[in-house]
Symmetry: C2
DNA sequence: ACCTGAACACCGTTCAAGT
DNA sequence: ACCTGAACACCGTTCAAGT
């Protein structure tokens, strides 16, 4: 809810998400001759990314960054307007420039490679999946979008559909990363014959949830290991690409789905 | 990371996600004759849901619940082990019993109806999309899963694939709800010829992001209104169902996608 | 058994200094 | 211009009371 109060240079009268003019800004005049600053935006943001990698999004705090930099917390306000701005900058830094994609024979392979590359970036910075969804407006976020559009351009999509497909694939990567992170943190595993699975199965059966109870009893309903999460992601990706191909150029059906099969 | 330290009754030696034995527990012996308690778990959880609806997940705090109930914050610890437990209970209450689905001619229509019903529940309690992903282990969460499995059972899926498809559809609903909430909260809109879109387009063009710049200039890259978000959701649902149908019974391709078209 | 008061370690943010 | 100290309103959680 906190927003930068500064009008963006060159864009009079607009208010930007916090930090937006700073991500796009020039990297600060390097040869300032005054008393050297103990802090730089770059060091602050780098520290925030490290904290996120080490302790999750909850670990990204102004207090933590300041402590790590040996500085009072409020000193950060000389360089940032708010914590929200720090998060915007940290996200773009963690996202990084898009990975170069291997040459792919078609749009679908290219899109799959893009998704796997982005998933790897999320795996390196799992807290990215905890951030609120935003339209990409920062440099690296837009560069990732550009890379995907370059792949989709080879497919049977008009530009409007390209953006739609891109949104869908981006959401899938994000959802998969969030699920991977959250489920990996869960204990205990709901293994095949575990007492917990048994108790849950009985509770479900007692409430008339027959199919769920069966799945629990059969051990099909269990915490995915890392291996299985990759399978799930790959399956979802296959489904999406197959569906995208099947529906290419057919427009959107309002308010639900037509019978696909 | 905070977990209930109590072993679940009937399940010796296991530790559950906080609040799990309380969601599944009996609704508390109603005719206790002692001095009447000022607080009940039910009132606490109901208040938490109200706070979430009114102020988002950040508004769900022990402090806020206690203030609203006219009680000291730490009094809640007589009824809850931790805030994490409160969140587990609040989620299951906000989720509620699954909506009855209209009779559908096939599994795809049934699954679509399920997705729209769950989406409506998320729309009523947008903070649900902010909660970490969990395997469904609470009564209402499992009941929603059961309802979807009942639809998928009419399709060409074995039980393992049913669960996979269910996970995919659930993730889509969740992702769509999160995107809707976050994008709706964004200002300013990136309208067609808005100065912000222009500035971003120039910045993107200056960095070689040709496709992104084009989309910005053409006004195709804009904040989705509620109307458009519904379209996006419906499109994604169509894609998923088409892909699921196309890939039914074909298993999973490891580590990526085959060429679908 | 249930609630309060006080305390602790943490947040983000603001304001008045200091240099 | 840049940083510190002090303060404020908020967190979640624990402990020692009170009734």
């Amino acid at each position: 809810v906190a927003r930068s109060a500064d009008p963006t240079p060159g864009v009079p009268g607009t208010r930007l998400p916090p930090g937006l003019h700073r991500v796009w800004g020039v990297p600060a005049p390097p040869a300032t001759r005054g008393p050297k600053a103990a802090l730089t935006v770059d060091a602050i943001v780098a520290t925030a990314v490290e904290l996120g990698d080490a302790h999750g999004l909850a670990g990204v705090s102004l207090t933590g960054v300041a402590r790590r930099l040996g500085v009072a917390t409020n000193a950060l306000y000389r360089h940032l307007d708010s914590k929200a701005e720090l998060v915007v900058l940290a996200r773009d830094r963690a996202l990084g420039a898009p990975a170069p994609l291997p040459a792919a024979p078609g749009w679908a392979e290219g899109a799959a490679a893009w998704a796997l590359a982005l998933r790897a970036r999320y795996a390196a910075h799992p807290w990215l999946a905890d951030l609120p969804v935003r339209l990409p407006v920062t440099p690296h976020a837009l560069a990732w979008l550009e890379a995907l559009l370059a792949q989709l351009q080879r497919g049977p999509f008009d530009e409007r559909e390209q953006l739609r497909v891109a949104a869908l694939l981006d959401a899938h990567v994000r959802a998969g990363a969030a699920a991977a992170r959250d489920l990996a943190a869960l204990d205990p595993p709901l293994a095949a014959g575990s007492p917990l699975a048994g108790a849950l199965g009985e509770a479900a059966a007692g409430r008339g949830l027959a199919r769920v109870a069966t799945a629990l009893a059969a051990g099909r309903y269990r915490e995915p290991a890392d291996r299985r999460l990759d399978d799930e992601f790959g399956y979802g990706l296959d489904v999406l690409l197959a569906g995208i191909a099947a529906r290419a150029g057919r427009g959107t059906v309002h308010g639900g789905a037509r019978h696909p099969g």
